[in-house]
Amino acid sequence: MRKLKSENIPLRSRIALKRFENQVNRKTKKYGRYKGEQVQISIFGHKIIYAPERICLYSANSENDQTYIETMKFVSKLNSVSKSEKIFIDFKSTIRVEAAALLMLYATIDNLIKEKDIKFRFSVPKENSALKKLLKSSYIYRLMNRSQIDYDFNNRRQLPVITGFDNQYVDHLLDYIMEFVYSDSMDPENEHTFGDAIQETVHNVGLHAYPDRDDREKQWWLLCQVIDNQLYLAIYDLGVGIPKTIVKQSFFMARLQNVYPKLYEQVMNISRGLALDSFIPYLVTHMTDAEAINLSMQPDVSSRKQDKHGQGSKSIKKLVDDTDGGKLWIFSNSGLYFKPQGQEPGLKPLRKPFIGTLVQWNINLK
């Protein structure tokens, strides 16, 4: 060790003392505490989007709706990417993906590939074999890899997410449910209930979800899965949502009068002589989206010619009321409609808006 010159000793001592005092002062402080969590933002030129721990929509119906909020934030992040961007979805924290959310995730990715030409890569931890299996069987892997997608309805295996237009694949799907889910024991009455409900739901997508699009652009995504002895049947569209289209339906005022008479009176008071379109903004601020969905699910309340429309809701509700343990969920815009078999529906506002519309039945299998 080199011997210090005697004249440098006080200076060195002062520096050492200062360093020691500084260390003592900062002992309880954290560096970079205002910078937030450090996360990697890109890998191989792909922007990383982290999937949440639970990808789930059903918590929207409970007091703690945090998993719903996290799921919608995740989907919003995906939707906010720029055209032709490369995205890496990291599922390292994800422990559970539930049926309806899986359908929504598939549709979101499918739409981003078509509309924005997004290139996807993804990673799932090796040890999470259940999630790997789910993403594979739903065809999300194939979708992100842009592989050829064909559907095999003549196989007992779980069906992937199916996408189509109008009543495309509806009969194939019903054949599958009859043969493989109900093992050919479904009676003709039940077959009609299922057939009517699914046909009317996809018909409603064509009619109400995409009012300004051509027939070939009225796309839906469907998931039919058996989980824990329950049949989950969910149909999703990326349309404008029920609350936005219901107010333009010919049967709207009759149903409003019958179900929400006070609001009807208010509307009538301000709208004398004005066209319906002119007081839609008033309705939007005085009626929740859940109430609007509830109106869309009401039976005919008048005997007007225009009441022929809006019939699909009866078919959709019938499937729930006629099947053991039936539950109906409808998410659309900022509203949730939830109806268990034989009970009145529950209406709930959503803290974070839903993108598109999802209609789901859960049915107990005997």
Partner: protein, 115 residues
């Protein structure tokens, strides 16, 4: 005397939808091309038209409403004429003729021509 119209054989094995925008086998096309002309002929000849719905169990409500309810709303038949000259049956699914009954009743209430 009666005439029989078999939807599956004479129209389509898989009818679907309400309007032509839903496809060629929708309720409106069925009504305009087969159901209404045959019912008119049955009325003129004082016969009964029997619509056999067998062979398909998945009729959607929109198809049935547009086809049968449309007879009153769009074609100008009265509910009495339908009661006297139209018969419909499905041998396995009783709820299908019941649903047609319901849509005909609703159509009759919605028009002044109905009973």
């Amino acid at each position: 005397m009666s005439k029989v119209l078999n939807i599956v054989k004479d129209f389509s094995p898989r009818p679907y939808g309400r309007y032509p925008s839903d496809g060629d086998y929708c309720g409106e096309i069925f009504r305009k091309t087969l159901l209404a002309p045959m019912l008119k002929s049955a009325l003129q000849n004082n016969e009964t038209l029997i619509v056999n719905l067998d062979g398909y169990n998945r009729y959607g409500r929109s198809f049935l409403d547009e086809a049968f309810g449309g007879l009153i709303r769009e074609e100008g038949f009265t509910i009495e004429q339908l009661r006297n000259h139209l018969c419909y049956k499905h041998s396995l699914v009783k709820s299908i003729p019941m649903l047609i009954d319901e849509r005909i009743e609703a159509a009759a209430k919605s028009t002044s021509g109905g009973a």
